[in-house]
């Protein structure tokens, strides 16, 4: 098991290198630092001095790949590639374009993101499984058919309308909870209820429908017939035999996104003004802060790969047929 994880981590390195090269190419080769400076400074104040000053302040004044001006190993390390891309591997994200410590920001903003993402995931999971089980139990009847159509209708509504509608209905009309904002500690609860409810509800359509198909897939297998031939009750057949097998894709599907929860939800956080990583990313995009975007790209890929490793491990837990080797 340990050897397996080590191997998987080793396998992740070329992928991270690829991600890094790609972002380096996008951010520094397609457009030179000069271009970025010009964009940031606006057209009016653009003088060569201002551009140089902007670059020096942010460490973009070095050559891209190879520094002729210095000697020794510094030829390679005193470059934009080394300072901005290679250092990411040490999780050294550097400073944002307006001078803030990105690593510190990320640590700070992780908590609110998780405070929304985890309850949303759990509540959604519970609702979806229940709905899907109901539809599977009544498969082929009108309950099932109308459930499926309801799911299609629900998944045809953009997540933004769920948020806007929810804010309007629950926050503004009924005044049940604050429309947006965030607080630390236990006070956060009242701010979290609305986003969590909306987050979970917006996922019902797609989620329940998918889980229903997992259930039906298992319900048509031979061993379910064996279970019925034993004389088991239909509920026992469904819970013991169907659910247990259908949990394999459900659990692994959840596990693979677990690490990504750290990144938070772009929409929920920005609509509800929650200071998490999702709104951090959006702000960075809107401010055109390339340093933060770069850092988040790297962090995102690390978490994605972590998800892949976790899902392999999850298989060994939920599926007796799979053994890591």
């Amino acid at each position: 098991m340990f050897a397996y994880i080590v191997r998987r981590v080793a396998y992740a390195i070329p992928i991270l290198i690829g991600v890094n090269l790609l972002t380096f190419y996008l951010f520094f080769v397609v457009n030179s630092p000069d271009d970025m400076a010009r964009l940031h400074l606006g057209v009016k104040r653009v003088t060569p001095e201002a551009i140089d000053k902007w670059k020096v302040e942010r460490g973009y004044d070095k050559p891209l790949l190879y520094n002729e001006a210095v000697s020794g190993s510094a030829k390679l390390t005193h470059t934009i590639f080394f300072e901005k891309s290679v250092k990411l591997f040490a999780f050294d994200f550097g400073h944002s374009d307006d001078g803030r410590d990105i690593s510190h920001d990320i640590q700070q903003r992780m908590k609110p993101s998780l405070a929304i993402a985890i309850p949303t995931l759990l509540v959604g999971l519970l609702i979806n499984i229940t709905f899907a089980m109901l539809m599977a139990f009544f498969r082929g009847t009108y309950v099932d058919v109308s459930g499926v159509i309801l799911c299609v209708v629900l998944m045809s509504i953009s997540a933004m309308f769920y948020i806007i509608g929810g804010q309007f209905l629950l926050g503004k009309l009924l005044r049940l909870m604050p429309i947006s904002g965030y607080d630390t500690g236990l006070d956060a609860f009242k701010f979290l209820v609305l986003p969590v409810v909306i987050g979970a509800v917006s996922g019902i359509g797609a989620g329940s429908r998918m889980y229903r198909s997992f259930f039906l897939e298992e319900a048509n297998k031979d061993f379910v017939r064996t279970a019925r031939a034993k004389g088991l009750k239909e509920s026992l057949v469904l819970f013991r035999h169907v659910l247990k097998n259908a949990m394999i894709p459900i659990v692994t599907g959840v596990v693979v996104v677990l690490p990504m929860l750290f990144l938070g939800s772009l929409l929920l956080e920005s609509f509800f003004a929650i200071p998490g990583l999702g709104s951090y990313t959006i702000d960075a995009i809107n401010r055109q802060d390339f340093a933060i975007v770069r850092a988040m790209v790297f962090l995102g890929s690390v978490l994605y790969i972590l998800g892949l490793i976790l899902v392999d491990m999850a298989y060994t837990v939920v599926d007796p047929r799979v053994r890591l080797s």
Binding site: N31, F161, L267, V297, S301
Partner: protein, 469 residues
């Protein structure tokens, strides 16, 4: 005189139309494609969805025929000058909606502005009141008394027109059916009305009837009122949302068109060739997949912005700038979304490669190219088709989110995402400006729902695993 303008996305849209038409012709000759399509057409929900989707497509296509109108000639023999503004056939058809702008917000069917203004009276006094709209209800002498009657008359006219139109459609469908089934027209119409046709023509007719009613209502009402109100700068919201249709369709379809060749080629190659080619392709898509989609799109769009702002000379008009951004968005969305299809195709090709009929072809000495073209490609096409229709609605929804995040289409372009984004800021207003959101919601929801129902039917018909049930 007009000068046709072909934008990048226009060209691709018409290429796509050509591809779809040739696919239809191809599918007609192949029973393994014809049978499932017949299944799709036989489903009531699906055929209603197809009608709705077709209406959207027609609007989108009309909006893809661009031109620049000639300026007023000020003398004979002179060179013709064309206006800077690029218009589409849809703009021409919607001329009144397009040009009748108000000062600022007005609610649907309003005759007065939504905000109070200080009015200078001839007698020198000033009052704060809601001024009359320039266009909305301008034919009414006294809106207070005439409004309700005017609406009633217009709705009644529309209802009548719609009824006539539906009747006409019924006869047309009847003629078509009678010619196909070689029955009398009366028999054909009776079987349509009784719902006895193989293709659910009654449902199609019903859908068409509803659409005809909506069309006639729009025709009668939108020429006199702003049926969905006006936005901050006084533009008709109904016009905006109709213009947004093209954006949504382009994102939903061109993205797929752009990524399809890559996904198919790479997926089949990886599965068929295996070895290091497989490793390489897997590496490429794992790497692309590992970057969160929104961030990759954001990074690419930001870079495009930098590029465009530094090279203004390459883009003549604002529309061209917006268009290149739209195309780029399609490409970058394609790059983030081809990996899923590629992986599916790789898996299927791996499986097919071991199948006995491919082994048989190899043992007959058939070349690799022929094996891929004759055996693998036709047997994975259903996966491609299912993916394409399933992806469509997701992409339409994604456009809205991306525009909200600020990395979607150009802010000057009409799109549902931009409509939502600008309207969202007004949610805090008292009283609320809700009509932009509502119209964007209605049009988007209808499109996505129709697409979802359609793709469900397509998947049920084409997925062999589902068919066994």
């Amino acid at each position: 005189m007009i000068m046709p303008v072909i934008l990048w996305t226009d060209a691709l849209v018409f290429l796509l139309v050509a591809v779809v038409l040739s696919f239809v012709l191809y599918a007609r000759s192949k029973p393994h494609l014809r049978t499932p399509w017949r299944h799709v057409l036989g489903s009531r929900l699906a055929s209603a969805s197809i009608v709705i989707l077709l209406v959207y497509v027609v609007i989108g296509l009309l909006d893809s025929l661009h031109y620049r109108a000639a300026l007023e000639d000020n003398g004979a023999g002179e060179e013709v000058h064309y206006g800077v503004e690029v218009l589409s056939v849809l703009d021409y058809l919607l001329e009144p909606l397009h040009t009748r702008t108000e000062k600022t917000y007005s609610s649907p069917f309003a005759t007065h502005l939504y905000t109070r203004e200080t009015i200078q009276h001839p007698d020198g006094s000033q009052t704060r009141e809601y001024p009359r709209l320039i266009w909305g209800g301008r034919h009414l002498a006294d809106p207070e008394t005439d409004f309700a009657r005017d609406i009633r008359v217009r709705v009644a006219t529309a209802g009548l027109q719609a009824l006539l139109l539906t009747g006409l459609l019924l006869v047309l469908l009847g003629v078509w059916l009678a010619r196909r089934s070689r029955h009398s027209l009366g028999h054909a119409i009776r079987s349509i009305l009784a719902g006895r046709t193989r293709i659910p023509l009654r449902v199609i007719l019903l859908t068409l009837g509803v659409l005809a009613l909506l069309f006639c209502l729009a025709l009668n009402l939108s020429t006199a009122y702003h049926v969905f109100g006006t936005d901050k700068v006084g533009q008709d919201v109904f016009y905006q949302t109709l213009k947004s249709i093209r954006t949504g369709l382009v994102i939903g379809t061109l993205t797929t068109l752009v990524m399809l060749p890559f996904a198919i080629l790479m997926g089949i190659l990886a599965g068929y060739a295996r070895g290091w080619i497989d490793d390489l392709i897997q590496y490429i898509y794992t790497t692309l997949n590992s970057i969160p989609g929104v961030l990759l799109i954001a990074a690419a769009i930001l870079m495009l912005q930098v590029y465009v702002s530094n090279h203004p000379e390459k883009f003549e008009t604002a529309l061209e700038r917006a268009d290149i951004r739209l195309l780029f968005l399609c490409i970058i969305l394609g790059i983030t979304s081809w990996t899923g299809l590629c992986r599916l195709l790789r898996g299927e090709s791996l499986k097919l490669r071991e199948s006995e009929y491919i082994k048989a072809a190899v043992s007959l000495g058939v070349s690799h190219a022929s094996v891929i073209g004759k055996h693998i490609l036709p047997n994975v096409m259903h996966i491609v088709l299912i993916t394409v229709v399933l992806d469509f609605s997701g992409l339409v929804l994604a456009e809205a989110v991306l525009s909200y995040v600020g990395v979607g289409v150009d802010p000057t372009m009409n799109s549902w995402g931009n409509m939502i984004n600008s309207a969202r800021l007004e949610m805090a207003r008292e009283p609320v400006v809700w009509w932009s959101l509502l119209s964007a919601f209605l049009f988007m929801f209808t499109l996505v729902l129709a697409a979802n129902l359609f793709s469900d039917a397509v998947r049920d018909a084409f997925d062999p695993r589902l068919r066994q049930r």
